[in-house]
């Protein structure tokens, strides 16, 4: 086996590597590094984005493969890679204003997030379990430290520490599962695992541990316990990033594991996913109901959204997958918007993320109020927003498959969710204003939020353009 290095296939990784090195160096040469690091990081990301967008048409009919699946580009993978990168760029935009307000801007922040993104790209664009595991670690370890980025704040470090301890345990489970599957099939490549006859108990055991390892990253109940704490402790732009990109990747890996490796064990994992999905929707929604902090509420709500996605996995159909892909794109817009709005409510070191802090904001800052309302309505799944269309697709895929119980529980869950999302709007518009906080909104972030809001409405009315790609991408997998 003679390897020639294919720079074309490696390009996105090389670009990011360069970015990480440049930013680390800028961190060392502190003085002039601080101001521009966000821009530099975004440039590298835009480079990757350009690469993936350019590659899209090329892979629409056949996938590109390198080193026996170590890198594997197809429409499905690229769709998510683009999603991840867009999410990262958006959270960098939010982070600029946020960190400036906090007066704690360091190049390391960007270097860390970039390496996490590299991990996600490695996880996504591969058909090899070991790559997935290494990518998972490369995703998670930087994220642990990104959560603890405000190393002088107890909440931040505590969140990071908890996330770290639990995350390491989950990685332990995950790799144990991979080891068992490796032992059973002599391989870690999807295709070979798919074709193996799975009549041995090792497969069950392996699937079980792999499932729990990924369920942790997707914050599926009962592996979700870290989620509210880590999300609350993390700097808000990091929370925005974490609630979308790694979760999307985890869900997609779960899809791949279940559909591309163990479709013949459907009867088994169907039951498990059924229980997990229901529990996730319920716990997410009920937990969100009683929170006093909007940020923590959004953390629970992200659990609930993961639950809807897990439900779509149970559907086991092209429709289900395309629903997941569409939902993720919508969720990207909404959640960047929701967390982004929260990240603007900040003065110096202090974040104003409680429900009470929102009193009367809608009148004081009408435009901001409008944006946040749009995001909340969309999260609640009110029609004419993308949140509705996403839920519509998910529930439809379930009903077509005859999963009435799941659909019912999902719908009940989102019924409950209206209460706590609407509470935000109510607080903004219907309560007098006892707090006199003046906020200076970062213009760039505001522009980003406006774009998100317009996207939420536009794609809520015309979901076709995204959905077409989502369906095509979904066809690749099944």
């Amino acid at each position: 086996m003679n390897v020639s290095i294919n720079y074309f296939m490696l390009a996105p990784f090389l670009i990011l590597t360069a970015g990480i090195i440049v930013l680390s160096l800028m961190g060392v040469l502190k003085e002039n590094g601080k101001q521009t690091s966000g821009v530099v990081a975004s440039i590298f990301l835009l480079g990757d984005l350009y690469y993936f967008v350019k590659l899209m048409p090329k892979v629409s009919y056949r996938s590109l493969d390198y080193l026996n699946g170590a890198i594997h580009y197809n429409l499905f993978n690229l769709y998510l890679s683009i999603l991840v990168i867009v999410c990262a760029i958006a959270s960098f935009v939010l982070a600029e204003g946020f960190l400036r307000e906090e007066d704690f801007r360091h190049s390391e922040f960007y270097a860390i997030i970039l390496s996490s993104i590299m991990g996600m790209l490695a996880m996504l664009n591969t058909v090899n379990l070991i790559n997935i595991f290494v990518g998972l670690e490369l995703t998670s370890i930087p994220l642990y430290s990104a959560v603890a980025y405000f190393r002088y704040k107890e909440r931040s470090v505590e969140g990071g520490l908890k996330y770290f301890v639990l995350g390491s345990i989950a990685s332990g489970f995950f790799i144990f599962g991979i080891a068992l599957i490796y032992g059973a099939t002599q391989s870690v490549v999807f295709r070979e695992i798919l074709t193996a006859t799975k009549d041995d108990s090792l497969f069950k055991l392996g699937l079980l541990f792999i499932l729990s390892g990924i369920a942790f990253k997707a914050s599926a109940v009962p592996f979700h316990m870290w989620t509210p704490d880590a999300y609350e402790g993390a700097p808000t732009p990091v929370t925005a990033f974490m609630s979308i990109a790694p979760k999307a990747v985890a869900i997609v890996i779960l899809v791949k594991v279940l559909y591309a490796m163990f479709p013949d064990m459907f009867g088994l994992w169907h039951k498990a996913m059924f229980v997990i999905a229901i529990a996730t929707v319920l716990v997410g929604n009920l937990g969100a109901l009683v929170q006093n902090s909007v940020k923590r509420m959004l953390a629970y709500s992200s659990i609930a959204h993961a639950g809807y996605l897990l439900m779509a996995i149970v559907a086991f159909s092209v429709e289900g997958i395309s629903a997941i892909l569409f939902y993720l794109a919508g969720y990207l817009l909404i959640n960047i918007g929701a967390f982004g709005s929260l990240s603007l409510l900040k003065k110096g070191d202090i974040d104003f993320v409680d429900y009470d802090n929102l009193r009367g904001i809608g009148y004081k800052y009408p435009f901001f109020g409008l944006l946040l309302s749009i995001f909340m309505f969309s999260l609640a799944g009110i029609p004419a927003t993308i949140g509705f269309v996403g839920k519509f697709y998910v529930f439809k895929s379930l009903i077509v498959k005859g999963e009435y119980i799941l659909a019912l529980i999902g719908i009940l869950g989102s019924l409950v969710s209206v209460y706590y999302y609407l509470r935000v709007v109510v607080m903004m518009y219907m309560k007098e204003n006892p707090e006199e906080n003046e906020f200076k909104f970062n213009l760039l972030s505001l522009v980003l939020l406006t774009v998100c809001a317009v996207g939420v409405i536009y794609f809520g009315l015309f979901p076709q353009s995204i959905n077409k790609i989502a369906v095509m991408a979904a066809r690749v997998l099944i």
């Binding site: 345990i169 069950k204 369920a215 409950v416 109510v426 076709q464």
Partner: protein, 649 residues
């Protein structure tokens, strides 16, 4: 013009955008003109299209369809963004646009001194846009968008006086209760899709007809789908058990109550079922449920209406009750009668609300003048004798009362009589009796309202009385217009026995597809008899009310001096009425009190609150469990793995 159906809803949207974006900087006059003008344009355009459609046989049979663009498309599932203007939706559009226009004009006067004037008109225009989308949608999904949109606007407008806790709570309640119904709608929609493979009305209709489905085929899924859709309708149209939000929704400005909570939005559930009549007929169980829910709601809400003291609350329960009539009609298969009642009800109920708004307006000014802030301008116990101060309001209110009570030849008589007759004719005798009894109550509580508000002496101080005056003409013009409609509106649907053409029925005949094999009795003599009974019901209610409230006043001193003689004579003279009172009215009032206090506030409100409470309880218990300790978190994960073991092995 037939290619411009989409413009009908777009005009209000433009109005909304202008007022919403620039309203802060515009003068009040401009805002009012823009908002009303937008609706006027819609109305005129709708008229033009309506006549054009009727002048062509082909168009009026198939309807005018504007497909703007393909909207959602996955696999075999595709939905277009399109509007359909046919006989049914056209009639409804005319009503919605017309009534909305009048109410917009009225609002210019009513809201003249309110804060957030531009916000109000922006929301109102947005509402009309959503409502027209709902009405004109050519598929269920777009209809659902309108359905949710009107809910959203309703929520925004109920909570318009956001500074009061009541208003914001009522807004939330309306929204949340409606969501229960909405998800029923959504699920029902999915089931219809799985059944017929399409969400477009025309496709569903063709599918039903071409498959030659009959109720005997007994498809459970159709029953399930229709029941779920009906659940959606009970939410929007305030029927048992989801009606609780409507009385609370009265916290919003009165024109909003007139427009949204009387004339248009709340009837959309009825409209939806009329539109899908060919599907509903396939599910006899659902039909029966609808009929009974409708009948019971009609009765139940009417009993509550007899004891309320808040003028708007009386009207709110009355609306619930009238909606119950409509559902009763649908349930027995008299779809056109139900739709007929939507139209007439829109006229007289909007008029009643606007009239009450005029009264509240006057009372508000009176209290303001007298420097009183703690008195409720909506409480009828504070009113009385307003007839001489507000003649226009009084006469129009009286017309509307006669209409709703069912006196011929006012609009309400024809529609209500047709509903009752059709109920009887489809051999639902018990339901007919319930409906007739509710008609007595309707007449009773409406006249009670009229007597307490407009007759007798004013029950306030002199200083208050000085300030009482008629509302400005911008408010009385819509009252008069609606009063005219409340008189003549019923003449489009004469009963057959009058030997006059029943315009509405002939016109809507093709909309109804008798897939359920429903047939009605034909017996002219019986129909005449029953018509007499319903007129008698109206008169009976009026007489009871007159006996009880005509002479009485709540000011004890004056009452004793001025009326003691007359009053005692009255009492003696109507000795029989006293028996009636003891035997019928008092028990009814007791039942009303019982329904209101016990069933309404304790059971139904209680159930809603209990569910919310339980959810919060579980949430709290859970959040105690999430106690911050990493150990517990890790243990939970371990527990998860054990559960997976249990599932896997």
């Amino acid at each position: 013009m037939t290619g411009y159906v989409w413009l009908i809803p777009v005009f209000p949207l433009i109005g909304f955008l202008i007022n919403g974006l620039f309203g802060k900087r515009l003068s009040r006059k401009t805002i009012g003109v823009i908002a009303s003008g937008a609706i006027l344009f819609s109305f005129l355009l709708a008229c033009v299209i309506f006549f054009q459609m009727n002048s062509s046989v082909e168009l009026s049979e198939k309807g005018i369809r504007n497909v703007l663009f393909p909207w959602i498309h996955i696999g075999d599932f595709s939905v277009n963004f399109g509007y359909l203007f046919d006989r049914l939706s056209g009639s409804m559009t005319l009503m919605v646009a017309g009534v909305s226009f009048l109410i917009h004009v009225y609002s210019i006067g009513y809201m003249a001194e309110e804060e957030g004037y531009w916000r109000y008109f922006a929301y109102l225009n947005l509402f009309v846009f959503m409502m027209l989308t709902l009405v004109l949608a050519d598929n269920l999904l777009l209809m659902f968008v309108g359905w949710e949109g009107v809910g959203l606007c309703s929520y925004l407008l109920i909570g318009f006086y956001y500074t009061t806790e009541v208003a914001s709570d009522a807004g939330k309640k309306a929204f949340i209760v409606n969501r229960v119904g909405d998800f029923g709608f959504m699920l029902g929609m999915f089931f219809l899709f799985t059944l017929f493979g399409s969400l477009e009305f025309q496709h569903i209709r063709e599918a039903v007809i071409s498959a030659g489905l009959k109720p005997e085929h007994g498809m459970g899924l159709i029953t399930l789908a229709t029941v779920l859709l009906f659940l959606g309708a009970t939410g929007k149209s305030a029927q048992i058990p989801l009606y609780v939000w409507l009385p609370d929704a009265m916290a919003g400005p009165t024109p909003v109550s007139a427009l949204i909570h009387a004339a248009t939005m709340v009837t959309s559930g009825v409209y939806m079922i009329v539109k899908l009549n060919y599907v509903f007929q396939l599910a006899p169980i659902t039909m029966l449920t609808i009929a009974w829910i409708g009948g019971l709601t009609a009765l139940f809400a009417a009993t509550i209406g007899t004891v309320q003291n808040d003028i708007k609350k009386v009207l709110a329960y009355s609306t619930v009750s009238q909606l119950g009539y409509m559902f009763l009609a649908l349930g027995v298969g008299a779809f056109i009668a139900g739709f007929f009642h939507i139209l007439t009800h829109a006229f007289f109920k909007a008029l009643l609300f606007l009239g009450s708004g005029s009264v509240i307006h006057a009372m508000h000014h009176a209290f303001h003048h007298a420097g009183i802030h703690d008195k409720d301008p909506q409480d009828i116990r504070n009113m009385g004798g307003l007839k001489k101060y507000m003649p226009k309001t009084y006469w129009t209110f009286l017309v509307a009362t006669l209409a709703i009570a069912g006196f011929p030849p006012f609009a309400g008589f024809f529609s209500k009589d047709e509903i009752l007759w059709k109920t009887f004719a489809s051999s639902h005798r018990v339901l007919w009796a319930i409906g007739a009894f509710a008609a007595i109550l309707t007449s009773f509580y409406m006249f009670r309202l009229v007597y307490l508000t407009f007759f007798g002496e004013f029950r306030g101080s002199k200083r208050e009385e000085e300030a009482l005056h008629e509302s400005p003409s911008v408010m009385t013009f819509p009252l008069i217009a609606l009063a005219v409609l409340s008189v003549i509106g019923g003449w489009i649907g004469f009963p057959h026995i009058f030997k006059l053409p029943n315009v509405l029925e002939q016109y809507l005949e093709p909309v109804i597809e008798n897939t359920g094999g429903i047939h009605f009795l034909h017996n002219s003599a019986l129909e005449w008899g029953l018509m007499d009974v319903s007129i008698l019901c109206a008169i009976a209610g009026w007489l009871f009310a007159r006996t009880l409230y005509a002479g009485k006043s709540d000011v004890p001193g004056k009452l004793a001096k001025t009326f003691s003689y007359f009053y005692s004579i009255l009492l003696n003279k109507y000795y029989v009425d006293e028996i009636y009172f003891a035997l019928i009215i008092r028990p009814v009032k007791k039942i009303g009190d019982f329904c209101w206090l016990f069933i309404d506030t304790i059971i139904i409100d209680g159930t809603v609150n209990l569910v919310a409470y339980l959810a919060r309880c579980f949430g709290r218990i859970y959040s105690l469990y999430q106690n911050g300790a990493v150990k517990v978190y890790a243990l939970t994960m371990l527990g998860g793995i054990l559960v997976l073991f249990w599932i896997f092995f």
